[in-house]
Amino acid sequence: MLKGRAFKFGDSISTDHIIPGRYAYLRSNLPELAKHVMEDADPDFAAKVNKGDFIVGGSNFGLGSSREHAPLVIKMAGVSAILAKSVARIFFRNAINLGLPVLICDTDGIADGDELEVDLAKGTVYDKTKGEKLTFSRLPKVMLDILAKGGLVPYIQKYGDFKL
């Protein structure tokens, strides 16, 4: 069970909101890069977020660049999962490949600061603040297996190949 507070963002949060291209020079210095997580969407996010918290987006979360540093700095900030109405495809794969769960559900009812509990096995989100329960779409088996191994590199190290 994952527990934490919701940080609510709007629609179309791009990879440039999450970690702007102008910080590309820090991509081999991850602790410094991670200080700028979500900077162009909420400059105070890095200071406010606590381990276990959730990023809650609207539609088309993570659109834009293929930079895997976007889900990487979110994971480094301690975020336990991303919830959104829809997620851009490269960001989706990148997050799963790093072992960061991405849950597709109707996030309209979740407000900034709500306390959430996520049960990955049952596929449910409980909004404690609102007293409401949501269900999220199941991932394809290959993505569940990658997530279960903690990411793509450990998954391939374990199996030596893709297992469908």
Binding site: S12, S14, D16, H17, P20, G21, R22, A24, Y25, L26, R27, S28, N29, D40, S59, N60, L63, G64, S65, S66, R67, E68, H69, L72, S86, A88, R89, I90, R93, N94, N97, L98, P140, K141, V142, G151, L152, V153, I156, Q157, D161, F162, L164
Partner: protein, 417 residues
């Protein structure tokens, strides 16, 4: 039922009867990364303790996003990538070599290929009939090691094109209007497949612009059939042997169809801060522009520079407006010099950058200050992309960009042609 282009290519490369919705493992013909995604790709490859590349001659590291290196940190990343290339025998395209997607189109991509790159605009090679898509560093590192990856076979949206582009209207206007109509998530996880009799009027340079921006509608690929136009381009590139005809079946199953009449299009601009926030260029008259940038994998080709030179011949840039041009490859630069286009652009006040991504992503060669506005021929206008998050990026065609250079404000190119 017949197959879409995506189903055909993924069937061939997976050895399965691939249908939309299936998950398949496909052999990859070309895998690459560039200098902002490459270091993490290399680190993930090393984290997996892989000893060798599956196909060193089909693995490329490109230096284009910040090349020549603008600072110590990126210089160190470049050195790290060069060392990996020496150790593994992969190919590299070093400083001045040009934009990865342009080089893939000029020299590497073939109809029917599966191409994976650690760059979202890898979709560009769809113009040549390649199933080409962007992935992150971990996915590409695994392709480097195994020579294959998994795909969900996408549903396809058919874009049926008729007519021909009118004077002053370019392929950029086609794709901006398409994205404006379907939205920045209008094709998420899907293939955009182009067809119709109007395709014969779209050159490979036009198709590269359109396929390049398929990802701005969320698409996994933007696919064109391989036809006479494709054959002509590959012959011109002295790669005639790489041609094979490729077309979707007549009874292929499409999720939906969109019809576009090229004759009905007009110069179009995407306003800040989203690509689907489009408007006719004429409606933005009076919007003052501090910098015009012509270049990138979207519009840094010879045809784009030729269009700009035609409009700017004998003209000068507006004193308020800086003008930056970056040819997408050495071939483009040399051809543009031979044709006299570079002379025209320099006389008009252009600063010519080396072949590469230049100002596109805010790392060097034209970073924007707070409050400034740029008209760029690139593919993204997200907040903060070109430097300050308080800057404003407008996207348009090379014709619109050149017209804007003259007037210093967003201008429909038909007004100055």
């Amino acid at each position: 039922m017949g197959k879409t282009l995506a189903e055909k290519i993924l069937s061939l490369k997976s050895g399965c009867d691939a249908r939309a919705g299936d998950i398949v493992i496909a052999q990859v013909d070309l895998a690459f990364a560039q200098d902002t995604t490459g270091p993490l790709t290399v680190r993930q490859f090393q984290a997996g303790n892989f000893e060798r590349l599956a196909n060193p001659q089909k693995t490329v590291l490109f230096f284009d996003h910040a090349a020549p290196s603008p600072n110590r940190e990126l210089a160190n990343d470049h050195r790290f990538m060069r060392q990996f290339a020496r150790e593994t025998g992969c190919l590299i395209s070093d400083v001045g070599g040009g934009v990865c997607h342009q080089l893939v189109a000029e020299s590497l991509a073939k109809p029917g290929d599966v191409i994976v790159g650690a760059d979202s605009h890898t979709v560009t090679a769809g113009a040549l009939g390649a199933f080409a898509t962007g992935m992150g560093s971990s996915d590409v590192a695994i392709v480097f090691a195994l020579g294959k990856t998994w795909f969900r076979v996408p549903d396809s949206i058919k874009i049926s094109v008729s007519g021909e582009l009118r004077r002053g209207v370019m392929a950029k206007d086609l794709v901006l209007q398409l994205i404006g109509a379907i939205g920045a998530d209008g094709a998420t996880y899907k293939a955009l497949e182009f067809g119709g009799e109007g395709l014969r009027n779209l050159k490979i340079s036009d198709r590269l612009t359109v396929a390049n921006m398929a990802v701005e509608a969320g698409a996994k690929v933007g696919l064109f059939p391989a036809d006479r136009v494709t054959r002509g381009y590959l012959n011109h590139q002295k790669r005639g042997e790489d041609y094979q005809p490729l077309a979707a079946d007549n009874d292929a199953g499409y999720e939906s169809q969109i019809n576009i009449n090229l004759n009905a299009l007009e110069p179009t601009v995407a306003k800040p801060h989203q690509v689907d926030n489009t408007a006719p260029a004429r409606e933005l008259k009076g919007t003052k522009i501090d910098q015009v940038f012509i270049g990138t994998c979207t519009n840094g080709r010879l045809e784009d520079i030729a269009t700009a030179a035609e409009i700017l011949k004998g003209k000068k840039r507006h004193p308020r407006t800086r003008f930056i041009v970056a040819p997408a490859s050495p071939q483009v630069l040399l051809d543009a010099i031979s044709a006299g286009y570079i002379q025209i652009l320099v006389e008009a006040g252009a600063a010519i950058m080396p072949p590469g991504c230049a100002a596109c992503l805010g790392l060097h060669q034209g970073v924007l200050a707070s409050g400034e506005a740029c008209l760029s021929t690139a593919n993204r206008n997200f907040k903060g992309r070109m430097g300050s998050p308080e800057a404003f990026i407008y996207l348009g065609s090379p014709a619109t960009a050149a017209a804007t250079v003259i007037t210093g404000e967003i201008t429909d190119p038909r007004e100055v042609m």
